[in-house]
């Protein structure tokens, strides 16, 4: 409604912003509106999740706490099933649950009415913008996630050379396999860009669409912008899910590949196990 009233008095054209605008400066370092709102949402998410964590009980009691539990169970199943070895998967569950909830709640908090053209700072720019609607924010998210994935893959592989070895399907001395290995490494590097661009573009274009439809219905802006706001709620959840599952798969590809190179159990003449338990390469029995 605020946007509708303001666009009634504003000049022609919807207000479209792609780049963030500076709000105030600290020691000559400009703080933009998305950085400011990023701090506010991060603080809010931390307080909310700690409050939820104190209220989790063994028997579910319903309410908001149970909805968060549903989300956590969903991502836990996803991450554990992506890895061949569930123990490795269980180590990385907290990371991906954090990423999922952070992106989902940040996207949702960017749909509130006072974000965007509602409040203006002292130099005429919008005061608050969603953190993931800014390429700087999502590039940071993507870089940190992929750095963690690389570090984890190198640690699971046991060294940088062994990790690089899994890109080459044959011997690296064969020129064809060498080129294929180089292309695979290049594909790996474009993953950072594709992850961050996908998240940023979905959220920023959602904002632009809502701004256009608020502008088209001058006084009736709340009615014309309502369907697209509901679509943006769906996009918020979907993009958080996509980011999480793609990072999980990138990690799982690197880690599972290393598990393949472990010694296969010998199932010839005397070695067929008679029970339902499986014996892995280290000789440990697990069901």
């Amino acid at each position: 409604m605020i946007t509708g009233l303001m666009s009634h008095f504003a000049e022609s054209g919807p207000a479209v912003h792609i780049a963030p605008a500076g709000v105030f400066t600290v020691d000559g370092f400009t703080i933009t509106n998305s950085i400011l709102y990023g701090w506010i949402t991060a603080l809010f998410i931390i307080i909310l999740m700690v409050w939820v964590a104190h209220r989790v009980t063994v028997k579910p009691k319903g309410g908001f706490v149970q909805i968060v539990e549903i989300g956590v169970d969903f991502i836990t199943d996803l991450v554990e099933n992506a890895f061949d070895n569930k123990e490795i998967g269980r180590k990385y569950v907290p990371l991906f649950v954090t990423i999922f909830f952070f992106i989902f709640l940040t996207n949702l908090l960017g749909l509130l009415p006072f974000v965007g053209e509602g409040f203006k700072s002292s130099n005429g720019n919008p005061l608050l913008r969603p953190f993931t609607g800014d390429l700087n924010g999502t590039l940071g998210l993507g870089l940190v996630t992929m750095l963690i994935v690389y570090y984890a893959s190198i640690r699971e592989a046991g060294g940088v050379m062994k990790y690089l070895r899994h890109f080459f399907i044959g011997s690296p001395k064969n020129p064809l396999y060498f080129l294929i290995g180089l292309l695979e490494m290049l594909t790996d590097l474009t993953r950072v860009l594709s992850l961050s661009l996908r998240l940023f573009l979905n959220i920023a274009i959602g904002e632009i669409v809502i701004a256009v439809f608020s502008y088209l219905g001058h006084i009736a802006a709340p009615i014309t912008a309502l369907p697209f706001t509901m679509l943006e709620i769906l996009v918020a959840g979907l993009q958080a899910y996509i980011f999480t599952i793609l990072s999980t798969m990138y990690l799982a590809i690197a880690v599972n590949h290393n598990e393949e190179h472990a010694a296969e159990p010998d199932l010839t003449e005397g070695g067929v196990p008679e029970t339902m338990e499986r014996v892995n390469a280290a000789g440990n029995v697990h069901g």
Binding site: L197, R198, L201, N202, I205, L238, Y241, I245, L246
Partner: protein, 75 residues
């Protein structure tokens, strides 16, 4: 004033980018939806793959959004 400024070639460029840029992702999304529906039609247990179909939708959607975003880069 260059030739491009006086004839307004920027607008034609932006129009072409948006128009031609959305053909590919639209066809791609239609193919994904069609193959998901025919798989479910053959075997109704295949509806557990809905999550994976949405993953491919997001990957294809990226190229449509890149076309839309490049109109803001061209001055």
């Amino acid at each position: 004033m260059t030739f491009a400024d006086t004839t307004g070639l920027v607008i034609i460029g932006k129009g072409l980018m948006i128009g031609l840029g959305f053909i590919g992702p639209a066809i791609g999304l239609g193919l994904i939806g069609g193959s998901y529906l025919s798989a479910v039609g053959r075997n109704p247990e295949a509806s557990k793959f809905f999550g994976q179909a949405l993953i491919f939708v997001a990957i294809v959607e990226l190229f449509g959004l890149l076309a839309f975003a490049s109109t803001f880069i061209v001055k």
